[in-house]
Amino acid sequence: MSEAPEEAVPHDDMVPERTPDEVERALEATLFASEEPLSVDALGMHLGGLDNGSVRAGLSALVQHYSDRGVRLVERGKRWHFETAPDLAHLLRREREQVRRLSRAATEVLAIIAYHEPVSRAEIESIRGVQTAKGTLDVLLEAGWIKLAGRREVPGRPVIYATTPEFLDHFGLASRRDLPGIDELRAAGLLDPVDEALEDAMAASAQPDEEPDCESDPDNEWPDEDD
């Protein structure tokens, strides 16, 4: 949705309502009818070879048009679909508990994969400190949220895992950059392996005056709050 409102649609409350043009109507009809999210390319082809620029312009107009309505048009992993507005969840949720609940282990593994991808099972386990039960990855694979993403070219060539467009879709993320807090985690070095962070921290504590970055310096990090 990032590139959405390039069109010069004023952001007033009372917008002069344009009659939707034919591209817009065709995109609207196609996206309403589609059983799955559609990429710009797929939309263009479906609309008789419409160029991507026109498709994007039409999508932007539609995003704008639907921005205050009960359904909205969103981009998830480069694919577009209509969905209900989040603030109406309370109306729709009833008798609709379709989402199976994930175990805590599975949610943690999913988060680790999403924030670190691609990542091997050993790497997941080194973060969690426990072995991953057989079923945990299976459940995520079956849900279609993670996929095998090849092998890491290190001894043993372990399989590595990554998330899928369906994952982004389900959790309402336009892309992995939208993962909650990912920028902060990265900035704090919390997505780096322990060994790396340890080296940095040791180096920092060796020359304490050079780096006032005290994020992970044990010496000045253990204040007496606890006693």
Binding site: S34, L102, Q131, M202, S216, D226
Partner: protein, 296 residues
């Protein structure tokens, strides 16, 4: 608490196990306990019943290994994970484990391994630092802290992820999409000429056939014999066999005539009426009438 219906595995610990497993926290590479439950669907709320130390004996099963328990204890210090006191954390953990032992709970081995390792870490941290050990206890403590931070970050991220508006729970897609369908249709094409020609071919293929064998231009051996004999009578000189061929014949007939004339010449030679000479391979073949009786 849905996951703690399973009993903790009870394990006998040998000293070797202890020393082997105590390395786990040091290098952080090996995990040594399977998480409880099959890891499938069901409970997605954050760690249950972790408040109140009186719930200890119930809650122990709910943790996914000692690191998880440590993280939870660290959280209770209610400070940033970067600010936690490792010493305080160690004490809390050891107290926890002791109380579990008092309650005669069977503890999984890795909890005990962690307890032993933490006890070692505590004493190392408290001892006056004379000799430089490698790694130093401070480094070990830092490593533990870094690991807890990372696990804590991921636990929080997981919770935030799960709390998002999710499709099928908070957000809904079109309930009855018409569906997009692409039908392939073949437009067949042909033309009248192809049709008529095809019928012609069917008829031609299935019509009764009459076979004609064409007359091929050949010179029979008999006619060649007559011809060569007659021509030999004209002269007593050597003659090239090609002079015996019909002068205006086409190539096909000439071939046949040459072959027949050659056989005729052999026949005449055999019966003593002609002689044949050739200077070398592929040289002109010459024929001459033999005088009656001259050969003998």
């Amino acid at each position: 608490m849905n996951e703690n219906s399973e009993e903790l595995p009870s394990q006998d610990l040998s000293p070797e196990d202890l020393s082997a497993k105590s390395g786990f926290m040091l290098d952080g590479e090996n995990a040594n306990r399977e998480e409880p439950g099959a890891g499938g669907w069901d409970e997605e709320v954050p760690n249950p019943a972790h408040q109140g130390s009186d719930k200890l004996y119930l809650a122990l099963d709910g943790w996914e290994g000692p690191l998880d328990l440590l993280l939870d204890l660290a959280r209770r210090q209610k400070v940033d994970l970067r600010q936690i006191s490792i010493l305080a954390l160690v004490d809390q953990y050891l107290t926890y484990i002791e109380r579990a032992a008092d309650l005669k709970l069977e503890l999984a081995a890795d909890y005990l391994v962690m307890a032993a390792w933490l006890a070692y870490l505590k004493s190392a941290l408290l001892l006056p630092k004379k000799e430089q050990e490698d790694p130093s206890p401070e480094e070990l403590a830092l490593r533990l802290q870094l690991r807890l931070q990372r696990l804590g970050a991921m636990r929080e991220a997981a919770a935030r992820l799960m709390a998002r508006d999710r499709i099928g729970r908070d957000i809904f897609l079109r309930g009855a999409p018409e569906g997009l369908r692409i039908d392939r249709k073949t437009l067949w094409k042909s033309d009248a000429y192809s049709l008529i020609q095809a019928y012609g071919q069917v008829k031609a293929r299935t019509a009764p056939r009459i076979y004609h064998v064409a007359d091929r231009p050949v010179m029979t051996l008999d006619s060649a014999l007559d011809r060569v004999s007659a021509m030999l009578g004209v002269s007593l000189e050597w003659m090239d066999i090609r002079e015996f061929l019909p002068p205006h014949a086409n190539a096909e007939l000439r071939k046949s005539a040459l072959a027949s004339s050659f056989v005729a010449a052999l026949e005449l030679a055999r019966t003593g009426r002609a002689e044949i000479a050739q200077d070398g391979a592929f040289a002109p073949l010459r024929i001459r009438r033999l005088q009656e009786g001259s050969r003998a």
